[in-house]
């Protein structure tokens, strides 16, 4: 009862209310109430998440499990950044209220929190993102093989887009007049046309399938047809 019926009822009621709220003005407020509850739950769960992070890493350090040094770095970064942000340590004083440290600007690069963001988080984030360039090259080398007609089409499209988005397009096909009847053969024009028409059409078809999949999955959950996430009695 507690493990199946009540969760099923909550799922069905919340889903039903949100659908109704979208179509009927009279129930819009109900939908907002459901969303508020969801946000409240998420906020409580955040404390759970923070606690979990602390617990898992402390446990790893105390038992000296493999990789405990990483856990130490994680914990230190977590606690120090949290303290800088929550306690506004070293915040730049507010010109209007210089005597009130809590009114200070803690996001400025002159404050520790802003400094951590600017000189630690930003470069680290950009570095992780930059790894994509290396991984894309490695994936391209391995995956783009002319195994069949479809793969050859894919390969040709990749060439056009890769060259069409750089100056190579001008060097290779710049001699074709952009106003002439063969303008569509210019690599840059072909790249734009492929992205604007061919790729967009394909994306839309995938999106329609996805939209129906989302609707069907939601209905399965709301109507209790899919109960795989519940504990069996």
């Amino acid at each position: 009862m507690l493990k199946r019926t009540i969760p099923l009822f909550i799922t069905g009621a919340a889903g039903g209310i949100l659908i109704l709220a979208y179509f009927s003005p009279a129930t819009t407020n109900w939908g907002e109430v459901v969303t508020d509850w969801m946000n409240t739950l998420a906020a409580v769960a955040f404390i759970l998440g923070g606690g979990n992070l602390l617990f898992v890493n402390l446990e790893k350090i105390s038992s000296k499990r493999s990789g405990w040094a990483y856990a130490l770095v994680t914990l230190l970064a977590f606690v120090v950044t949290l303290a800088f942000g929550v306690l506004k340590i070293g915040a730049v004083p507010n010109a209007q209220f210089p005597a009130t440290p809590w009114a200070g600007d803690y996001e400025s690069v002159r404050a520790p929190f802003g400094w951590v963001y600017e000189y630690v988080l930003s470069p680290l984030t950009a570095t992780m993102f930059a790894l994509l360039a290396f991984y894309v090259a490695s994936a391209a080398f391995r995956a783009f093989r002319a195994k069949n007609i479809e793969a050859i089409l894919l390969l040709g499209t990749a060439f056009v887009i890769l060259l069409g988005r750089t100056a190579a397009a001008g060097i290779l096909t710049g001699w074709i007049s952009p106003e002439g009847p063969f303008a569509f053969l210019r690599l840059d024009t072909m790249a734009v046309n492929i992205m604007q028409y061919v790729s967009t059409a394909g994306t839309r078809a995938v999106m329609m399938g996805i939209a129906l999949g989302i609707a069907a999955t939601s209905l399965r959950l709301i109507l209790g047809i899919d109960r795989s996430y519940l504990v069996n009695d």
Binding site: A126, A137, F141
Partner: protein, 332 residues
């Protein structure tokens, strides 16, 4: 590092080169990519750029606004996509300021507000010192709520932003006097790395109020496919990835790259920081006199060109290995 060979399940063919390719450690590819990106930067390779229709439309939309028009800039990205989007953000701000437009900066991404501050500090303040906070530009800051924020500020700006980022009531910000919603702006410029971003601005701002303002977008390459359907109806212009930024920079710099204000700013920088600063401030082609920060997009096209050529080469080599392996298998 453990390596995954490309043809692990098939027989490795004869021929030293093919054998090397077939069993190549992927770190060789990483090294090649590092050189493909690094060498053009060191050698200052800058391929020529000719603006395409999207960049021309974007430039024209800002250029044809009357001087002093109100422009809302929403910086919806973070440091991760800065490499792709910051050059166009810089160019947008420089172009708008050169035209004398009033600029309001906001963000739907938490770290977007910092990117806006950074752009103001590195572009607006040095090259447009006449711009005064509150009078010519204002910082509205980040607002949580994704597309919900757009839906509200389209009709009621004060409901979301009762004050600007520094806590000044919006009614006391001179450039926003009489502004009750963003329909009072003539143009929205959105620099977008994903959700929430360009798609949401198109759906909830320009689709709902097509006559109220125009929307111009600068976006990452990966999400551009999903935005093409909105051009040119809901979006009057679109800059796609670093290529779009480079093309737009060419247009902006041709007209506003070497204005007296910029020359004065560069002179001041070089006198303050010495010769090294002068080198940093001016472009890679010193004779152009255009600050380097306003040519970032063009500078990054060099590495992009070589990296793309490397990718094409890798794909070709991958297929050489594939066919060599297949023909070997067929012979047997």
């Amino acid at each position: 590092m453990s390596t995954q060979h490309t043809q692990s399940s098939t027989t490795v063919p004869h021929g030293a080169f093919i054998r090397f390719l077939a069993t190549m450690d992927r770190r060789w590819i990483f090294l090649a990519m590092m050189l493909a990106v690094g060498m053009p930067i060191l050698l200052k390779l800058r391929p020529p750029e000719s603006p395409g229709p999207l960049s021309n439309a974007t430039f024209a939309a800002i250029e044809h606004l009357p001087a002093g028009s109100r422009v809302l800039l929403s910086f919806d990205y973070d440091p991760a996509s800065e490499g792709e989007l910051q050059p166009m953000a810089n160019a947008f701000v420089h172009h708008c300021a050169s035209k004398g437009h009033k600029l309001a900066f906001m963000a739907l991404w938490p770290l977007g507000a910092q990117k806006a501050n950074e752009t103001v500090n590195t572009v607006l303040k040095p090259f447009h010192p006449e711009y005064k906070l509150g009078v010519d530009y204002c910082m509205l800051g980040y607002k949580a709520g994704n597309e919900g924020v757009i839906k509200v500020i389209v009709t009621d700006l004060l409901q979301q932003y009762s004050t600007d980022a520094s806590g000044t009531p919006l009614g006391e910000v001179p450039m926003l006097k009489g502004v009750s919603n963003i329909q009072a702006f003539d143009l929205i410029l959105n620099v977008s790395a994903g959700y929430p971003g360009a798609k949401e601005w198109a759906q909830y701002a320009t689709s709902a109020y097509p006559d109220a303002f125009s929307l111009l977008v600068g976006t990452t390459g990966v999400q551009s496919n999903q935005l093409y359907p909105y051009y040119p109806t809901q979006m009057k212009g679109m800059l796609v990835a670093i290529k779009g930024a480079a093309e737009y920079e060419v247009l902006v710099n041709a007209k506003y790259g070497n204005t007296p204000a910029i020359v004065a700013a560069q002179r001041m920088m070089s006198s303050r920081e010495g010769e090294s600063a002068s080198e940093n401030a001016s472009g890679d082609t010193p004779e152009s006199g255009v600050p380097a920060i306003l040519q970032e997009g063009q500078r990054r096209m060099g590495p992009q060109l070589i990296a793309h050529l490397l990718m094409v080469t890798l794909i070709v080599l991958g297929n050489v290995v594939y066919f060599a392996t297949r023909s070997k298998g067929a012979t047997r």
